[in-house]
């Protein structure tokens, strides 16, 4: 029987797997995609250092390989059943059934589907993209960046809180990382398009992490990004494929209208479908946000209501890479304590 079965081979799963392996436990990773890495594979750079996400990924993949940790790719967990003796049985699309003493759920998040905010016109107007689309574009960008409709870009606007803090989307919570992502991407656009104007439409700028506020200041001071306090109410397309934006400039208390060549929607994080599947198959408790509910938010944030089933990373809430890695490390220790006590 395996000691720890980790579901999800993103950074949280890989970090925890390495630590648990080093603590002497038999560890196995199940990953539903054909590669390790999760969402980070589609990300260009990380805030606040602006280093390449691929560097972090390569580090973890190498660490996993060096330790010879077994990884099952293309393996989607369909159910988790707790046995009478306290162990777990997992079913996947594969023939083999997995038996394990503990489960660590590092299933991550799903990106908010921006099509649901119909008034922003994602996938209706050519030049509306999401922050995730922009990261993919930046990963491979060569030469002059042009808008999806092929126009040169003279102005770009970023919209904060798309699908977050929004009752209409069913998401009351803040996604934590979009604010700083918006600042990071705004700087990037100014670097790539020195002639372009860049605007960020925000409600509150939540620069909560180390180095975030400094980056905000850099965006203002060095890159002249213009921050407008107001939430976009609607987007429409003009005859030349530009986008007409409407918002209130709340600080001057007047409605505002502007036209831009590219609109980037900073999409938030939502609970992964996996959380719902788990909840169904093993009575896992979820918060009203639909993310996994930790047993105790402060003291036992890696435990769940199911004994022996642990969690880490964005399965519990939107988190930065920094917080995810720390939470995963903590999860490894939490699992280790449990295994020592129950062996």
């Amino acid at each position: 029987m395996i000691d720890v079965l980790i579901i999800g081979g993103g950074i949280a799963g890989m970090e925890a797997a390495c630590t648990l392996h080093d603590l002497g436990f038999e560890t196995l990773i199940l990953e539903k995609e054909k590669q390790l890495g999760g969402h980070l594979r589609n990300w260009d750079t990380l805030f606040p250092t602006k280093r390449k996400a691929s560097e972090v990924l390569e580090h973890y993949v190498k660490e996993i390989q060096q330790r010879g940790i077994t990884v099952y790719l293309n393996t989607d967990v369909t159910s988790v059943k707790k046995q009478e003796d306290g162990t777990f049985e997992l079913n996947t699309g594969r023939e083999v059934q997995f038996k394990t003493k503990t489960v660590l759920m590092t299933t991550g998040y799903a990106l908010f589907n921006a099509e649901r905010k119909e008034e922003y016109g994602y996938k209706i107007y050519d030049n509306v993209i999401t922050s995730a689309d922009l990261e993919k574009i930046l990963q491979t960008a060569k030469g002059e960046l042009r808008s999806p409709s092929g126009n040169s870009i003279q102005s770009v606007a970023f919209v904060h809180c798309v699908g977050s803090r929004d009752e209409k989307s069913g998401n009351h919570y803040c996604s934590n990382v979009c604010c700083v992502t918006g600042v990071k991407q705004a700087i990037k656009m100014r670097q790539l398009l020195p002639e372009a104007q860049v605007f960020n439409f925000y409600m509150d700028l939540r620069m909560y992490g180390s180095g975030f506020e400094e980056m905000y200041r850099e965006a203002q001071e060095q890159w002249h990004v213009q921050f407008i306090r107001g939430r976009l109410s609607e987007v429409a397309e003009t005859i030349d494929k530009r986008l007409q934006l409407k918002a209130e400039d709340t600080l001057s208390a007047r409605p505002l209208r502007m036209h831009v060549d590219l609109l980037v929607l900073l999409v938030g994080m939502e609970s992964n479908k996996a959380a719902a599947d788990f909840a169904q198959s093993c009575n896992l408790a979820c918060a009203p946000s639909r993310f996994v509910q930790p047993k105790d938010f402060h003291i036992e944030s890696n435990k769940t209501n199911v004994e022996g089933l642990f969690t880490a990373g964005t399965a519990i809430a939107p988190l930065s890479v920094f917080d995810t890695v720390n939470h995963a490390k903590a999860a490894a220790l939490s699992v280790s304590e449990y295994l020592k006590k129950n062996n």
Partner: protein
């Protein structure tokens, strides 16, 4: 009267201590969602009246919270009750009902 050619200036300070929160209490009792506004301005951006007059429904919320009720009756009459603000509000505030409650509150509480 104007013997000196000057007079003490009227203070522009929002006097929180002497705030009239009767109207605010009345609104929140009848339309609790009113208290959840985070001043994002989506309502004003989409407001038909706000596009053509200085009516600003977001600012109205703040003024009422500050107990600044001067001229509120005239202000509220600029709303056309089209309800577009209600569609865009990320906090799900029933803005149109709030306006109706304010109208009632002004009458019931005898606010000029």
């Amino acid at each position: 009267m104007n013997k000196f050619g000057f007079a003490p200036a009227k203070s522009r300070v929002i006097e929180y201590d002497s705030m009239h929160n009767q109207l605010l209490d009345y609104i929140i009792a009848n339309e609790p969602s009113f208290s959840t506004c985070m001043s994002c301005g989506s309502c004003t951006a989409t407001c038909s009246a706000g596009n053509l007059t200085d009516f600003n429904i977001r600012r109205l919320n703040i003024q009422i919270r500050h107990g600044e009720l001067d001229g509120i009756r005239q202000e509220i009459d600029k709303c056309m009750l089209c309800g577009k603000c209600l569609l865009v509000c990320p906090r799900g505030i029933n803005t149109r009902n709030a306006i109706m409650i304010i109208k009632k509150g002004i009458v019931n509480l005898g606010i000029e």
